[in-house]
Amino acid sequence: MSRDRDFSDQPDNRLEGLLRDALREEAETVVPAGDGLSRIQHTVQERRARRRWLQPVLAVTSAVVLVLAGFGAYAFVGHDRGNDKVVLGHQSDSPNPEPTSAAPSPSEAPVSDVHFPKLAIFPFTSATEERNWEKEYAAGSTPWAADPKTVALMWVDNILGQPSVDKVTGQQIAGHRAVIGLGRVVGGESAQPVDVTSVSLQKFGNAWIVVGADDPTSNLTLSSPQPHEAVSSPLTVTGPGFGVDESLQVDVRDAESPTSYGSGRTGFGNGTTQWQVDVPFTTPSKAVGTVVAVLTSNADGGPQRITAQQVRFTSTAQPGGGTPAYFYAVKDNRITQFASRDGSAIRYLTDAQPGGPVSDPQVSATGDRIYYVQGVGTCADRLMAVFINAPHGPYQVTTADTGYRIAGFAATNKPDTTSGNPHDVTALFETACDGRLSPQAKLVTTDADGNRHVINYPSMPPKINGNPSFEPGQTVPWVPRYLDAYVQTGMSGYLARYDLANPDGPTPATHACPGFDGNNGEPQAIENDASGQLWVAIQTGSSMDVVRCRPNAPVHAFTIPGNDQPADVDVTSDGSAVLLTDVDGKVWRWDGSGSAVELHPSVPLTQVTW
């Protein structure tokens, strides 16, 4: 850009600097919804389909034109479904006759690499997945095959959670292999990007598949585990030391989603010959994952080097059997890890917290930290978080507004811990400490960029009972659009769905669990799983029931007989296991089928999470 050469006759540099900073800061708050490409492609597809219809209409005007148009239509449509690497739409609605000579369909296209890459990470980890995608791709129902640059950028941004690494700094594409250099800009948008990682890809069929990423300087390498090695928790990750005062985070992640199963941190340098990080991780639901090492820049806290490789998990949670090994609750006013097997306490994650009781622990969407409220019931309470596997202590996420206390909360986070900014996304239901204060309550949501949205409750009821729960965002989990809550409107209430983009007051018209019959019992606790399915704990009078809502009518999951009152329900991200507590502190575990099992922790636990 030539901005320094132009406008040189306009002094007032300070105002210009302020304007530039203000615009950039304002722009940073704008986060596109993420479905832009699919919406554009859909429109393009519709236009193309309309154009296909035009040809036969024109053709009837002349016999000669008919012949030519028919031939043209065949050539156009036939070749579209054949050789194009980029296929936009379903072609079967074409008014043109089927081609008589076959151009190869995408699913029949020559396979660039006969063998599926052994080290495949993203977007497919098996040939079957890729083949299934090819079939959908041929039918036009999925976006087209992307080029290796796009795949590499998408992987680093959406799967590794490193959106700042968004510049292509180099590329080598030879046959069915590609290496894409990616970097980020440090110190202003006009600066040259610095190299952060080199993403290796292989082509199989029509897909480019990430098979690993390396530090372009070859300093950050992994000695163990080896690529494709079978690993189990806790995983010891090692590599040769280098540099001065280096800060490293290692994650064990799902290969095809932003899920982190566990993470660990270490510092090294100053002559260290080898670094080592122990990474305990929850039982994955898939067989293939990724070990990702991110070195943090001392300059700005952003990612400096990224190395990633595929690993296989020796034990994986099967559908219906995905019970995590641990859950978390409060013991001795400390966030504590418990064994899911029997409820025995394992270790403390925090010291005894000051300022009053601690309550409501909730594991974050990324699984690496636990949110909780410190000083419950006081007007100096705070929403805190502590990392499960990191050495540093708790940090304050947010507080209620002055004069209010936290009566319930939901929290999630953007998976970007390397920048030092935790990017917490919160919803606080705040009630006034003083009965004369107006409004009497408010629902305050804060997104990952710190933007606040407030819904006021002039008086109560209506009010939110218990904790609300974010539905995961449609594109990425940390940009939720909907918040579910049990709203008490008087003597009774309903499961409400707040549209955070278009709030319609404290009693939204939309129900979070369509078809739910409140006559069967009153909801006492709710929780969304990662697919956006809402789980509800109900007190029926003769039992505690747990049901799951969406996409269809509520479905009963399990029952605990007896006239107990549910206190908390917590579900694993894949919905395969549930914890339920009652107000007396009894805890039950449900493993996806059959009856729930009562656990026997040494202390009553009313609030649990996993």
């Binding site: 850009m1 030539s2 901005r3 050469r5 132009d6 406008f7 006759d9 306009q10 007032d12 300070r14 105002l15 210009e16 302020l18 304007l19 530039r20 900073d21 203000a22 615009l23 950039r24 800061e25 304002e26 722009a27 940073e28 704008v30 596109p32 919804a33 832009g36 490409l37 919406r39 554009i40 492609q41 429109t43 393009v44 236009r47 193309r48 043209g72 050539a75 156009f76 070749h79 579209d80 050789n83 194009d84 690497k85 980029v86 936009l88 087209w144 992307a146 080029d147 640059k149 796009t150 950028l153 998408m154 292509v168 948008e189 006009s190 983009a501």
Partner: protein, 177 residues
């Protein structure tokens, strides 16, 4: 055009669309949002611009031309959207005279949100020039091409815009306790 050529064009257009989307979609939405002050509308405008660019790919052929086309389409469509809403010119103050600043340092005390708000009250052309200049980092010639005006007009709008902004911010600063 023969079928193979058309097919090749389509493939190029599709690939260019994905490449340009990956690289520029976010910054274009942000630029449009600065012009419109409405993020959903900004996304609509930019998506429409991408569709139009895809349809015009045969004329554009390369990504540099396509990016210039996208910028121009986004600005034009943002302008149309604002015109449709009939708010921008009604709310815009009269152009400010070029005046020397007395208290530059005062600006630093102001919140950046106030700067953006003040920018939003500028006449449309001035706002467009300042956004393209100070957010998109375009050169004078690029801004002229994007807006379809002369380089001299760009310079004039920029100068008047900065002067108006300065005046607004100084008045805001003086009005504070």
């Amino acid at each position: 055009m023969d079928a193979p050529t058309r097919m090749h064009d389509q493939r190029d257009a599709d690939e260019a669309l994905v490449a340009l989307y990956t690289t520029h979609y976010r910054s274009l939405v942000r630029m449009a949002a600065l012009l419109l002050r409405d993020v959903p509308a900004a996304e609509d405008v930019v998506q429409d611009a991408f569709v139009a660019m895809h349809g015009s790919w045969r004329r554009l052929r390369d990504t540099d031309s396509a990016l210039a086309y996208l910028r121009q389409a986004v600005v034009n469509r943002s302008r149309s959207r604002l015109r449709h809403l009939k708010v921008v010119e009604r709310k815009a103050p009269a152009p400010m005279p070029d005046a020397a600043s007395a208290e530059h340092s005062a600006f630093l005390a102001l919140e950046r949100g106030e700067v953006v708000a003040a920018l939003g009250r500028l006449p449309r052309r001035q706002r467009e020039v300042l956004v393209l200049r100070y957010y998109s980092d375009l050169s004078e010639a690029q801004i002229a091409a994007t807006l379809g005006i002369s380089a001299g007009a760009v310079k004039s709008h920029a100068s008047r815009g900065i002067a108006a902004l300065r005046d607004t911010l100084e008045r805001l600063h003086e009005s504070r306790p």
